[in-house]
Amino acid sequence: MSRVRRLLPLLGCVLLGCVLLTLYAPGGLLRRDEPPPGPVGWPPYDLAGSIEAAQHRLRRNPDDAAVWASLGTMYLEQARRTSDAAYYGKAGAALRRSLRLPTGDGKPYIDAVIGMGALANARHDFAAAVRWAERARREAPHRWALYGVLADAYLELGRYEQAESTIRRMLDGRPDLASFTRAARLEQLHGRIGPARELLRRACLIAGDPAEYAFCQWQLGELAWNDGDPRAARTAYTQALAADPGHVPSRAGKARAEAALGHVKQALRDYATAVAGSPSYVVEYGELLQHLGRRATARRQYAVFTAQHKLLAAKGDVDHLALGTFEADHGDPRSAVRHLRAEWKRRQSVEVADALGWALHRTGRHAAAAAYAARADRLGGRNALFAYHRGEIERALGHREAARAHLSRALAINPHFSPIRAARARKLLAATP
């Protein structure tokens, strides 16, 4: 091995895992116009840098279907992290470009097919996601990524039995973060909090980068929050933010938990940060402000929501679930019913059942509302909001015992589930002996 020592001073090159390093001859001239090395210890997994690298490589090799597919997937991830919808267009373009290019076996590059499914999920076109994933399954039944796309689409479509068999297939074939997190979601939907927590704990232990870790901790936070434990929830959200300070869902979750723990100022600060990162949380923020009696500020948040959705609608991108949920509580319940009926035609998930039931109740159709509210509870999930909605609906129907039971259940599951609604549930329970 002494030869090694003699060679080293002259020249060297190392490929470390998947990155090449070239050690240049004395003189320090770079042989190619590559950027200079970064500081030692820089995070190896860097999305923006990887996108640049992929683009760079595609300029030299524009026919590489694999790199186009990777680029599309990375744009998808970028959209997820930045909440910038422009990346969906870029992702779609890169993935379609990959699909058109020849591959070794003459078939479309499989990861591009799966990527199209993931893109469809991201755009909430879950039926299309199922079609892409099924196509991928016919081509490559052992490519595990496709089952993740499929399981997500089934979960969102309310096809829970198919979701379950898909998740079992994942766990049998490849137990990993992707399968553990999905299995946890299924457990949670069925109200099995302990098993869900254990699966998420294991997912956290094998997370490979800050984004994955933040996601797992955020899920643990959501689980604790929905189980009525704001302290544990805040701990988990804080862990997520330590790994990824820009993780907006965890910031919003922390705001929610801080409010529940009585730290209102901190809650408002966290909400302000969250809505600056993504407008997804303006309604929730507005509701806290409304609860605090700051009606004008709350209305401004609702106005942001309305404006945002007008913009989206102008682009032909209508989110019926979000709009229907908002309209039922803060706008026109009849419009809410229209939106949610449209969504129910597309998918019959427990979330849509709950929202539609609530909107129907708000238009006075309590009997129809009760049927949907019951469907929302059909998996046995412990969801305080669903229970509250059922309580209100049963009350409107004059079923005092049932109303009491559901309202008490809502507060038992999570006494902090919503500042406005929890207060109202308490008031109703106090008023009806």
Partner: protein, 458 residues
């Protein structure tokens, strides 16, 4: 010459985007929250890296200073940033398997399992990874090493010490920690478990050719990194069929990681599932089609012959055509009996390479042989005094693909073999042999040979 003085001259070629390390999954997750709306409560990362069970490289060679032993190194958890603690998966079994009969079944298996001494803290908890922070607390791990053979398990090491990464002040006198992590095994062997500088290197032109049309990994760095190594030095008599390395000198080696699964909704198995498999370098990513790569990771060599994947993929690899087209050369026509010999049977005089080198046929006591993808080593090949990085291609019979040494440039060798060498003429000039590529940190002359972990200063 100090490494630190040349560091400034490294330029990184992330755009070459190359890997021998197989990031085993790029799992797309989760419908995202649509920007501006709040309807989805499910917003998962787009890729899962799953580094902990990612077998990145496997080495097997006759120990130069103890030629009656063989050294086997299996490296896991690629791309470790310097100064960052990384942990093995405590829910996984890491195994090195030895097939000495040529059946594809392991005759001896060495199994590592790990336990945390304290709460593990992910290495990336600080956003700015190059700054050590309070979250970078060193969490030590211990391991148990078990030898499985003849259906029986025997614990060789209990509460073994896993060498952590070199974290500067948190790990004073690092060389002493390294020494502590090297242990003697009953029967004359040694084991080392822990962090080391990644010995992998390659020529970037070879990598970009060989990997054309293969997935691009979302990794960017300009600095050397560490891996977590499982290293064994075992007497040849312990590994050879019938305990007789003179009569039966050939062994096949591979490494696997298996992770405990989970049931769901109260039913299903929580048994261990094999999630990573590595024998010959590049084999899964280059020979096995992308669509089947996950499946290969779950296959056992004993099922290679009948599984309908490994044999046909080796006899007619798509990637040979892709690479040939890209390099504007011709690849040999299928069926590739040469690749079958190299990867699935080992070389023998009656094979296409007309050379008795590392086929299990050379084992006098072997009877029924199966084609199986293993890194085959002839333990009787004498140690080459001045090893050449191109191994067999330049007539160095002790080099890859007869086992694999730390100095072998396996990417270039695999590229040239894919294009027809050494059975045919091939395309030897494709990668200049004066390539500057070489080991970044010198390996040492004694077990475990691996250089100490890379740190911020070299």
């Amino acid at each position: 010459m100090q490494l630190t003085s040349v560091r400034s001259r490294w330029a990184w070629i992330a755009a070459g985007g190359a890997a021998v390390a197989v990031l085993t999954t790029t799992v797309l997750l989760g419908p995202t929250m649509r920007p501006g709306t709040a309807t989805s409560h499910w917003d998962a990362p787009a890729t899962t890296l799953d580094k902990q069970i990612d077998a990145t490289d496997l080495y097997a060679f006759t120990s130069p200073e103890r030629p009656d032993t063989v050294t086997i190194v299996a490296n896991y958890i690629p791309f470790q940033a310097p100064h960052k603690p990384y942990q093995f998966d405590t829910d996984a079994r890491y195994e090195v398997h030895i097939d000495n009969a040529g059946t594809g079944r392991p005759a001896v298996t060495y199994r590592w399992t790990f336990a945390n001494k304290g709460l593990p803290v992910p290495s990336f908890l600080r956003k700015r990874e190059h700054q050590a922070g309070p979250f970078d607390k060193l969490v030590e791990q211990s391991y148990t090493l078990t030898r499985l053979r003849d259906g029986k398990g025997e614990t060789l090491v209990r509460d073994g010490y896993v060498a952590p990464t070199d974290m500067g002040p948190a790990t004073p006198d690092y060389p002493a920690l390294r020494r502590r992590a090297v242990r003697d095994l009953p029967g004359g062997g040694k084991v080392f478990t822990g962090t080391a500088a990644d010995p992998f290197y390659s020529d970037n032109h070879a990598v970009s050719l060989l990997r054309f049309g293969l997935p691009f990994f979302p990794v960017k760095t300009g600095v050397p990194m560490n891996v977590s190594a499982l290293a064994l030095q075992i007497p040849k008599s312990e590994l050879a069929l019938a305990g007789d390395p003179a009569r039966n000198p050939v062994i096949g080696v591979w490494t696997t990681a298996s992770r405990r699964s989970s049931g769901v909704l109260g039913s299903g198995s929580d048994g261990y599932k094999q999630v990573s498999r590595l024998g010959n370098p590049n084999y899964n990513e280059v020979i096995i089609p992308l669509k089947e790569r996950d499946r290969f990771n779950a296959l056992r060599p004993e099922n290679d012959e009948s599984g309908g994947l490994v044999v046909p993929a080796t006899l007619d690899p798509d990637q040979a055509r892709v690479v040939a087209r890209q390099a504007k050369v011709a690849a040999p026509p299928a069926p590739r009996k040469d690749l079958e010999a190299i990867y699935l049977t080992g070389l023998s005089a009656d094979g296409p390479l007309k050379l008795d080198l590392n086929s299990h046929r050379l084992n006098a006591d072997a009877s029924r042989l199966a084609r199986a993808e293993e890194l085959r080593l002839n333990m009787s090949t004498p140690v080459t005094a001045a090893p050449g990085r191109y191994g067999l291609l330049k007539g160095d019979h002790q080099g890859y693909p007869n086992g694999r040494r730390l100095v072998d440039d396996v990417v270039t060798v695999n590229l040239r073999m894919l294009l027809g060498e050494p059975a045919g003429r091939g395309a030897p000039g494709l990668v200049a042999e004066d390539s500057p590529a070489f080991l970044l940190k010198p390996v040492s002359g004694t077990f475990p040979y691996l250089a100490l972990p890379v740190t911020a200063t070299g």
